[in-house]
């Protein structure tokens, strides 16, 4: 139980940190950081994902809260290799999150003749 409380507190702190960072977060810088840090390689330049390199996960317009997004990026033990602070500064990660939120929402399938 104590650990759960600690984790919740940590998330809250992280959230505060992001709230601060989010104000400064730049989608434009995030687009560059998304490329510089190699995220595009598995997730595509628009965060669209791939059935073969991101197991279908789509990052653009992600509904993950920033805290969960950051926690996953820092400590994933699944197919994605972890990005720690030493190689992906928190400011860059916040920018990347802002960029992903800024990607235009996809068109409705019914509006694309080739997908009807």
């Amino acid at each position: 139980m104590r650990n759960v409380v600690k984790f919740a507190l940590a998330l809250a702190v992280a959230g505060c940190v992001f709230n601060g960072a989010a104000q400064a977060a730049s989608a434009e810088n995030g687009r560059k950081a998304f490329v510089t840090h190699g995220c595009w390689q598995c997730h595509g330049f628009e965060g669209q994902g791939s059935a073969v390199t991101s197991n279908g996960a789509v990052l653009s317009n992600t509904e993950l809260p920033y805290e969960a997004f950051e926690a996953f990026v820092r400590s994933t033990n699944r197919a994605m290799p972890p990005y720690r602070e030493a190689i992906l500064p928190s400011a860059d990660l916040a920018d990347i999150y802002a960029f992903l939120q800024s990607v235009p929402k996809p068109k409705d399938v019914s509006s694309i003749p080739l997908l009807k």
């Binding site: 490329v35 190699g38 595009w40 390689q41 598995c42 595509g44 330049f45 628009e46 669209q48 994902g49 791939s50 059935a51 073969v52 390199t53 279908g56 789509v58 653009s60 994933t76 033990n77 699944r78 197919a79 994605m80 290799p81 972890p82 990005y83 720690r84 030493a86 190689i87 996809p106 068109k107 409705d108 399938v109 694309i112 080739l114 997908l115």
Partner: protein
């Protein structure tokens, strides 16, 4: 300067070259009968010409000059039919339609016989610029035509070039007949280059990944071995075969074998190995009584009939089918075609011609401590496993294409397609009446899941639809839009376009999807797609490929072969400007080591990008006789360009579009 086409210099040979051809006057034993042209060249340097001041460096004498710069001296004609003519007689009985080949001196006699004595028909010589291209073409051709091609390679350097293609064919269970020229007689073969290009046992280089090889020592031996090679290659599991063919045996005339008449053995196909009756019944009982049976297939459908049989089995059981795509096994839009995650709920899994059963039921996550991966099971405890796999019959030791060992409950080392009729009958007999309603309900659930799945795939395809570089989903669907009304065949899909064709195109015929390289040796896509397009050309079909950048650059000369021999193919490039798989690998390792990847001035890790400068593939293709356009970066330009290219291909020419794409 001597080339690899240097003539055999047999001027010193005054006796029969080979004991087994005793009685034969040696071909070219007396090169004194030089060609008229050679005589004329020689006379200018004749020692009988007027004396001149002695130079500090002696000029070559006439014989040396002729050997170094002249055409090969005409060989003294010996009576009798050349051995290589008889070899052509043998080859013609096997009805091999084409011979993609890069020329070389070690099989010059057979080459000459094929095009002159054999009139360049069955097989027709196709000029290739790399032995790997020749094998790749044969690989792709078989997967459409169902018949093997033969290639000739220089015994050492040519076979070394061909080796990766042969390994791909081995892993993909495709027959390719490889004949390597080799000059065995060390005492009489020419020194220098031809000796560099000779070896004791050239077949050793590929023995680990060929089904059978031989080194015939007489014309009759050749006839037996050639027919045996064909028969072995064409008996499932299919595979490449190799012959070392002595240059002397090709060149020398036939002799009298003491009155024994040479004969050509008749080729009679072997029946494929079928599963044991008891094992078939046991498997059928398990499947009939399963709550959630799953059928997993990789190279199960060797022929179009294999697809029909798999549909019959799946519908009888109303079982989910996971098609791993080694071949076109199961119609993609069929409601029982399901994604791999159905494995997790299965209580019985039958795997047919799987290249890796272990990986069907286990996962490997490349993300453990220090970057070392870990394993995890994908199935429930107690899940029963059944295997039908002919490859168990030809397992070898060295190369690890047999993958990890997986324990199964019923193991049939047999050909899946040949076993399916008996299995279907056994399943029908084994289904108890009490289970028929439950089986029907299972099917209804799959129909709903299938419809939902298709909608989700379309939604995923819509993301980044207007992006530049162009999304792979858009690339694939713009292509589909232009070919959907034709009798099309997707002959290769290299560089990974996120499997969009298999997820969005209504593939149902055997030639709609040909599978991949088998051994994942990069460089397969370009030659295999051209070989497959050759087979489709003869059948009146339209061939299309998704051609990756890295794959094309291994041996781009095959583009010229397509233009030279009028092989129509639409190659739509998935040009992501890198060896992208390797970019991700380096990134992964850098992350584990807490280091920032050094990219230089490129997009991805140094050594993995193909940019700075960008390769203008359209110009490369144009230079070799293709119609080509590019680079296409705006998705709005793609559809019209493909339409134009389709018209070109329909006129009989190959066409390439250089399209800048998203990474996957």
């Amino acid at each position: 300067m001597r080339s690899k086409d240097s003539a055999r210099d047999e001027s010193q040979t005054k006796f029969n070259r080979r004991k087994f051809l005793a009685g034969v006057a040696v071909a070219g034993a007396a090169v004194t009968a030089a060609a008229p042209g050679a005589k004329a060249a020689t006379s200018a340097d004749s020692p009988t010409a007027a004396p001149s001041p002695r130079p500090s460096a002696l000029r070559p004498n006439a014989a040396v000059a002729a050997a170094e710069t002249g055409t090969p001296p005409e060989l003294k004609h010996e009576g009798g039919k050349p051995g290589s003519d008889f070899m052509v007689d043998v080859i013609k009985t096997l009805d091999i339609k084409y011979l993609p080949c890069n020329p070389a001196s070690s099989f010059r006699a057979l080459h000459e016989s094929l095009i002159d004595y054999g009139q360049n028909k069955s097989p027709e010589f196709l000029t290739c610029m790399h032995e790997e291209s020749a094998v790749g073409m044969a690989h792709g051709y078989f997967k459409v035509a169902g018949k093997p091609l033969m290639t000739l390679v220089h015994g050492t350097v040519g076979l070394q070039h061909a080796a990766m293609g042969i390994y791909n064919a081995w892993c993909d269970r495709v027959p390719v007949i490889v004949v390597g020229g080799n000059d065995l007689d060390a005492a009489h073969r020419p020194p220098g280059v031809p000796t560099f290009h000779s070896a004791q046992d050239i077949n050793a280089l590929v023995r680990d990944f060929t089904k059978w090889d031989d080194t015939p020592t007489s014309p009759q031996h050749f006839a037996q071995s050639m027919v045996r090679m064909y028969k072995t290659a064409m008996t499932p599991p299919y595979g490449p075969v190799m012959m070392s063919l002595d240059a002397g045996l090709q060149q020398e005339p036939m002799r009298d074998y003491g009155g024994e008449k040479l004969y050509i053995p008749r080729y009679v196909p072997s029946s494929p190995p079928q599963g044991d009756t008891g094992a078939v019944k046991e498997a059928a009982k398990m499947l009939a009584n399963a709550e959630r049976p799953v059928i997993v297939v990789d190279r199960a459908a060797r022929t179009p009939n294999g697809i029909k049989l798999l549909v019959e089995l799946a519908e009888t059981l109303q079982a989910a089918v996971v098609d791993q795509g080694g071949r076109m096994n199961f119609p993609k839009m069929h409601y029982l075609n399901r994604p791999p995650n159905v494995i997790g709920q299965a209580d019985v899994i039958i795997g047919m011609e799987l290249s890796d059963f272990w990986a069907v039921v286990n996962g490997y996550v490349d993300n453990g401590d220090h970057g070392i991966g870990f394993n995890e099971s994908k199935i429930k405890a107690g899940t029963k496993l059944i295997s039908i796999n002919s490859v168990e019959l030809i397992t070898k030791s060295n190369y690890q294409d047999f993958q990890r060992f997986q324990v199964v409950d019923v193991s049939m080392p047999a050909d899946a397609e040949a076993t399916l009729p008996a299995l279907i009958e056994a399943v029908r007999s084994a289904i108890p009446d009490s289970r028929k309603d439950a089986i029907a309900k299972r099917g209804e659930a799959f129909r709903k899941a299938s419809a939902n799945g298709r909608e989700n795939v379309k939604k995923a395809a819509a993301i980044a639809w207007d992006a530049s570089p162009i999304s792979t989903a858009r690339l694939v669907m713009e292509t589909w839009n232009q070919i959907k009304d034709l009798d099309w065949s997707l002959v290769a899909s290299e560089g990974n376009v996120s499997n969009w064709p298999n997820r969005l195109w209504p593939m149902e015929k055997h030639h709609h999807w040909l599978g991949r390289s088998g051994g994942y040796g990069v460089g397969y896509g370009a030659p295999a797609s051209i070989g497959a397009a050759l087979a489709n050309r003869d059948l009146g079909r339209f061939s299309v490929s998704f051609q990756s950048d890295g794959d094309l650059m291994y041996a781009p000369g095959v583009l010229w072969t397509a233009a030279r021999h009028k092989i129509p193919l639409l190659a739509v490039m998935h040009n992501n400007r890198g060896y992208h798989q390797e970019s991700m690998h380096v990134q992964r390792l850098a992350n584990f080591r807490n280091r920032v990847v050094y990219n230089g001035n490129d997009l991805a890790a140094l050594g993995t990008s193909i940019e700075n400068p960008d390769i203008e593939y359209h110009k490369l293709a144009q230079s070799m006789g293709w119609w080509a356009k590019g680079p296409i970066k705006d998705p709005a330009d793609l559809g019209p360009a493909i339409k134009e290219a389709v018209a070109v291909v329909q006129s009989g020419q190959p066409a390439l579009l250089n399209v800048w794409t998203q990474p996957r």
